[in-house]
């Protein structure tokens, strides 16, 4: 047999997560979040994933046969297309399995299932190293600040803090209550998804706000960078390979996620699935893996463990989105068939990340993370003590939702119903807890003007009008001021949030800063000042940033601009 090619060895070294030696690792202390105990439970969790997968598939010979066949054919198809050294190695064993499957006994098939699901569970399962966590807590603010603004680092160190990063990312919402709830039950964080930076930014905010770390199912593409892979892997993230479509894999993944919540690991899921291509607030949420939290709660109840689960919706509101150019292009190109996995966007390009970070650091509140109020898996609000509260204001037993005639049961069909309801409820919270950022409002007013000036055009014709429509700067400032007043009114009624910069700065300054922020980060000119006018250069990016405001477009409009606002709403589209 020939030795594996050099490329394959390098690939294996880089993609196989690196771990520190287990000896000399600190022991978890009482009161530490559950994740500090992960390594001692890891093997049990993997074994339980294998056991439950076997229990589900092997109970029915037909289901077992189908699952193995389906996994075999799906993997052969995928690996053949992948065509690298890693694929070649795996391809052989899948082909052998498919070939022999018909002649195997039920026991042999069960044994194959066990081996496959163990391999899958091993690949999925993360690792948690308290030393890496402590390193990260000290390192990340410094690294982020250094990357963003190397000149500022010595001052930060002398000042003994990282105030710049603190000003850059603001966190809002019932943080005290969330800290308390984290002690009482299991948090399931379900934020909106705009960028691959979301999980990093959230991890930082949780750390800074003294909230516990969360486990997170990260796309395998995020593990391709060895440094990110090292941190991700050792901070409890588990790997989700979206290329694998086999039912067996999805079942193993769901079981793993369910088990983590059952065992009290605070978790993070992006219920929208992928990043919002259009930048619209996500409306139709399938929840995906987050749905396993309902099953986890039921399973605990059924065995008499009354540990509450708290869903915490959150919105991530960026002044600039790292991958904006790729995402909106994908949205317009795809028209509903956008690529599920994009691996060639700005996130994968160091120069774009650097340009993004260096621009971001000059802004205040460039990212506002807004946490909504926690709810139980049945959409009831919870009070400070973690009790579920009914509409009457009285506490209600969450266990009653998974019980029939007083007996708690595990019922996937019922829990699927609750999951759908949760998706609707979280989407409603997203809208209410969206924080409107100044770049979005300026983009909206400019885009509305473009629509106003080109009423006869359809979406795609309009997007091609580059450098053709100008808006007098005075008018832009005036309309931004009017729209902000209306947003503040909507905020007073509890229907939206207004970001700190948008609230406090003069409209004149907001317009200047938006134009400057886009100019300094995006490779394309979004809009530029020409004499007393602002010329619209890139309708695509304007559309992207303004899409966040879609639910309020009509109420932000004046009588004169109402038709244009309606037209924007009606051109709508998928998030």
């Amino acid at each position: 047999m020939l030795p594996p090619p050099m490329r394959s060895i390098v690939h294996r070294l880089l993609s196989r997560p690196l771990r520190l030696p287990a000896i000399l690792g600190p022991r978890p202390r009482p009161g530490d979040p559950q994740i500090f105990r992960f390594n001692s439970e890891r093997e049990q969790i993997i074994a339980e994933v294998v056991r439950r997968t076997e229990e589900y598939f092997a109970a029915d010979p037909k289901r077992l046969m189908y699952a193995l066949n389906e996994a075999g054919h799906a993997e052969i198809r995928r690996l053949s297309a992948q065509g690298d050294a890693e694929a070649d190695q795996a391809l052989g064993s899948w082909r052998r399995l498919v070939k022999r499957l018909g002649k195997m006994s039920h026991e042999e098939r069960t044994e194959s299932l066990r081996a496959i699901s163990r391999g899958m569970a091993e690949d999925i399962a993360g690792n948690f190293d308290a030393r890496v966590y402590k390193l990260a807590t000290r390192l990340i603010p410094g690294v982020l600040t250094a990357v963003m603004n190397p000149m500022g680092l010595p001052n930060q160190l002398l000042a003994g803090g990282f105030s710049q990063l603190d000003a850059l990312i603001s966190a809002e919402g019932p943080l005290d209550k969330l800290r308390r709830l984290a002690q009482i039950g299991t948090l399931v964080l379900v934020p909106t998804h705009s960028s691959n930076l979301d999980s990093v930014a959230l991890g930082y905010v949780l750390m800074r706000e003294n909230l516990p770390p969360v486990v997170y199912g990260a796309g395998k593409n995020l593990f391709s960078n060895p440094l990110i892979s090292f941190f991700m892997h050792n901070l409890g993230a588990y790997r989700v390979d979206r290329r694998v479509s086999a039912v067996l894999y999805k079942e193993a993944l769901k079981t793993y996620s369910c088990l983590m919540i059952e065992r009290g690991y605070h978790s993070l899921f992006f219920p929208g699935g992928t990043r919002s291509r259009s930048n619209m607030i996500e409306r139709k949420l399938k929840l995906g893996l987050a749905g396993t939290a309902v099953e986890a709660f039921s399973r605990n109840q059924a065995r008499g463990l009354h540990r509450p689960v708290f869903f915490v919706p959150a919105t991530l509101n960026y002044a600039l989105v790292l991958e904006a150019e790729t995402l909106i292009e994908d949205h317009l190109k795809g028209a509903g068939q956008a690529r599920y996995i994009i691996d060639d966007d700005e996130f994968s390009r160091v120069d774009r990340v650097y340009a993004f970070m260096t621009k971001l650091v000059t802004l205040r509140s460039a990212l506002v993370v807004r946490f909504g109020d926690a709810m139980d898996p049945f959409c009831n609000p919870v009070d400070d003590e973690g009790r579920s509260i009914a509409p009457s204001g009285q506490p209600v037993d969450p266990g009653s939702y998974v019980s029939r005639r007083g007996v708690a049961t595990v019922d996937p069909a019922r829990d699927a119903g609750y999951t759908r309801e949760l998706g609707d409820a979280i989407a409603r919270v997203y809208q209410r807890e969206t924080v409107i950022i100044w770049t979005q409002l300026v983009a909206h007013v400019l885009y509305r003007h473009l629509v106003f000036a080109t009423p006869e055009l359809d979406l795609f014709s309009r997007q091609r009008r580059r450098g053709e429509v100008a808006m007098p700067r005075d008018q832009l400032v005036r309309e931004v001021a009017e729209a902000r007043d209306r947003l503040l009114f909507a905020e007073a009624e509890g229907r939206v949030r207004v970001g700190p910069v948008l609230r406090s700065q003069s409209p004149e300054r907001i317009v200047s800063e938006a134009l400057s922020a886009w100019r300094d980060y995006h490779t394309k000119i979004v809009a530029r000042e020409v004499g007393d006018d602002v010329l619209i250069e890139d309708p695509n990016l304007l559309l992207f940033y303004q899409n966040r405001l879609l639910p309020w477009a009509e109420e932000l409009a004046t009588e004169e601009t109402l038709a244009a606002a309606r037209s924007i709403v009606n051109q709508g589209g998928k998030a």
Partner: protein, 313 residues
């Protein structure tokens, strides 16, 4: 463990019809009504307050839609997540045309909710004449519980998870049955009535899909099935109401026909406003709303319907 009793709210014909169906299915019914109008039976117990219904697992709401929220609030304090709530109302609430399951969810701690729709009429439930309907819920347990509580050789209950579609179809059928009564009152024949019914249902399906429902629900028992029963003359009040509107009878007089009129009128106006807001083409519903509210003369509404441009089906 013996099966728990079935709760019923509402002492109108439908409430009693459900109670008798429960009795026929071999279960105990607890009926709560401020005006029960009749005496209980061996298996139908009249209870004096909502608290007594907590003993049931499944509770039916057989009251007109405007009363559902208040009663649900009153009942909600006695319930928890283990109760199933199912309504039979033909109405939508709010500017966004929310179905009443949404009201049940927001006013009570219950989440396992559903709606009973289709060509079920009170008389058939009371007498046990062959009949059927569709139970809509996102929860299979609720669908099964309703079938167990009511179903039998004379009552075929199908099920769907399309709650939004079933609730809106049911509301739309109430409206269209009134419109057909209206058309009959103007002497329009079967062909015109069929056109009206078909085009109206196509409109309802378009709106239902925008609301999140499925098109096929409108083609099933909750939609066309229900409307066919109305046209075939199952003595529901909407047809008589439609005819009374056509005869220009005073609104107060029409209101006493069946108690459903004001619900239909409100629903028509609300649906028409919604279609204007979201820019959906809904000429039949818009005309119905205007005619029912007496904003345009009845003759004009009929003429406008017949003179509409004919397009592709």
């Amino acid at each position: 463990m013996s099966a728990p009793p079935i709760g019923i709210i509402g002492g109108g014909n439908f409430g009693w019809g459900l109670a008798h169906a429960v009795e026929r299915a071999g279960r105990e019914a607890l009926l709560w009504s401020r005006r029960p109008q009749r005496a209980g039976t061996e298996h139908i117990e009249l209870v004096s307050g909502p608290g007594a219904l907590a003993a049931a697992e499944l509770i039916f709401f057989a009251v007109p839609s405007p009363y559902v929220a208040t009663i649900a609030r009153e009942l909600g304090v006695h319930l928890d997540g283990g109760h199933f709530l199912v309504h039979i109302s033909r109405g939508v609430v709010g500017d966004d045309l929310l179905g009443l399951t949404q009201v049940l969810r927001s006013e009570t701690p219950c989440r396992r909710v559903g709606a009973l729709a289709g060509p079920l009429v009170a008389d058939a439930l009371i007498t046990g004449a062959p009949s059927g309907g569709v139970v809509a819920s996102r929860f299979p347990e609720v669908r099964a519980a309703v079938r167990e509580a009511l179903g039998g050789p004379a009552l075929r209950l199908y099920s769907t998870d399309d709650v939004t579609g079933a609730e809106f179809a049911s509301t739309a059928v109430g409206l269209f049955a009134t419109a057909i009564g209206f058309a009959q009152g103007h002497g329009l024949g079967p062909a015109a009535q069929a056109m009206l019914a078909t085009r109206a249902m196509a409109e309802a399906a378009r709106i239902g899909v925008v609301l999140g429902g499925k098109h096929e629900t409108f083609m099933g028992l909750a939609g066309f099935g229900d409307l066919l029963a109305a046209v075939a003359g199952d003595d529901r009040p909407e047809l008589a109401i439609g005819r009374a509107i056509a005869e220009n009878q005073p609104l107060e007089q029409i209101g006493s026909i069946g108690g459903t009129y004001f619900e239909g009128l409100e629903s028509a106006g609300r649906i028409a406003a919604y279609t204007r807001r979201v820019k959906l083409h809904a000429p039949v519903i818009t005309l119905c709303a205007a005619a029912f509210a007496r904003e345009i003369p009845a003759e004009e509404a009929v003429a406008a319907l017949m003179s509409r441009e004919v397009g592709e089906e």
